[in-house]
């Protein structure tokens, strides 16, 4: 495979360090976003107002990281004019942090809804449907960051596949919620809020999938967005 990723040696030792620094910044951003998602879910399930408010207002930190990494990448591109695999790494990072930032946005939404619901003394039992979906999405996000850290194509493909389950779970929750709204119209408003949380979780899954697609692109030099998974496996493994 002639275009396999090769990040090992550069003429400039300093250049190596710069790339490593960017990668570790992306991992730090990923860690922060992961914490936000976990906190957003926790705030919902436990009706914890304090955590909810913290998540709802913590977005600025993720945003600042995105802007900083973006700037770092552009400067390296300008100064080092990297070719081939390093260039691909930088372009991939620019795309990946967009997805991480949007995951942060969705986590923020979970926090806002949790704050709103704690005002209303809504019972946290309403969120039981979200528990499983939340766990799946957290796992998926963690695995996507792991695949990015280790540049592991097989893990990335496995995580991409698990997005299907997340989508199925989301559809099933939506059906349950619609039934509940029809049975108890007084609960429509709160039930809709649950549906927005489910939607936010489903979108976090989508963004985690994008991160994994970026990993495959980076390692294999192949753009797999918009390719079916079977075709992908066939071509890549």
């Amino acid at each position: 495979m002639d275009n396999e990723l090769n990040l090992t040696h550069h003429i400039s030792h300093r250049f190596n360090e710069e790339l490593e620094e960017v990668r570790s910044n992306v991992m730090a951003m990923g860690g922060l976003v992961e914490k936000q998602v976990a906190d957003g879910i926790k705030a919902l399930l436990t009706s914890d107002t304090e955590i909810a408010e913290a998540v709802a207002s913590s977005d600025f930190e993720v945003n600042a990281m995105e802007v900083a990494i973006d700037e770092q990448c552009t400067q390296i591109l300008a100064r080092r004019q990297p070719a081939a695999s390093d260039l691909r790494l930088l372009v991939t990072i620019i795309k990946t942090i967009t997805d991480l930032e949007r995951i942060g946005d969705e986590a923020e939404k979970l926090g806002h809804i949790a704050v709103k619901l704690s005002d209303k003394n809504a019972s946290s039992s309403q969120f039981v449907e979200l528990r499983h979906l939340g766990e799946h999405v957290k796992t998926m996000l963690h695995e996507s960051l792991d695949a990015f850290a280790r540049m592991d194509v097989n893990d990335a493909l496995r995580t991409i596949e698990s997005d299907k389950l997340v989508n199925e779970e989301f559809e099933s929750i939506m059906r349950q919620l619609i039934t509940r709204m029809m049975e108890d119209p007084r609960e429509i408003k709160n039930t809709l809020r649950v549906s927005w949380c489910a939607r936010a979780l489903e979108r976090i899954g989508d963004h985690a999938k994008n991160v994994c697609e970026n990993v495959v692109y980076l390692v294999k030099g192949k753009d797999i967005r918009h390719t079916s998974l079977d075709k992908m496996r066939e071509e890549l493994i």
Copy 2:
């Protein structure tokens, strides 16, 4: 302003041509996405199954364009190793086409919902709330592509500002829809579908705003994402 955009002259005439080609491909992709959004809205408002099905299945064309432009940008980066403003142009294009592709995804959703509703013989009068929002979003998208084509910061800032109105309109539609669901629980399913369309339109507005933010970044070399509009105007104009 020392980092104003300068796309005029390059040592290599061929390089100029390559950049122009990419820009015109982005405009073509934008035109296609605009048509999809217009068709998606039309399909909903007129219950036109034929248009609805066409939109619901036309996404592959936009996706193919995204992949092609992305590849074109990466190759130019690798071969020409551009510095400063050309580098910024290419990075900006890579981000912009992600937003255009996601606008295409949202238009596809409108098509799917329109197909589903035409099956159910739902009355198109249900969509009256979407007419205004649809018009605003179409205008916003058109203006954002215009700002991109002419690299006009003032137009870009104006369009960014109009996203606020789109969001307000979206919130107002959601309130109306919730009231309707409570008044007529048998209509919950269809009313939810209308709400998903409203959400899709609102997201198209968000992506159009992203395109405009990219224009400001490109021309002024200033990252305005996550900056308040007032602060932006203050600093830039």
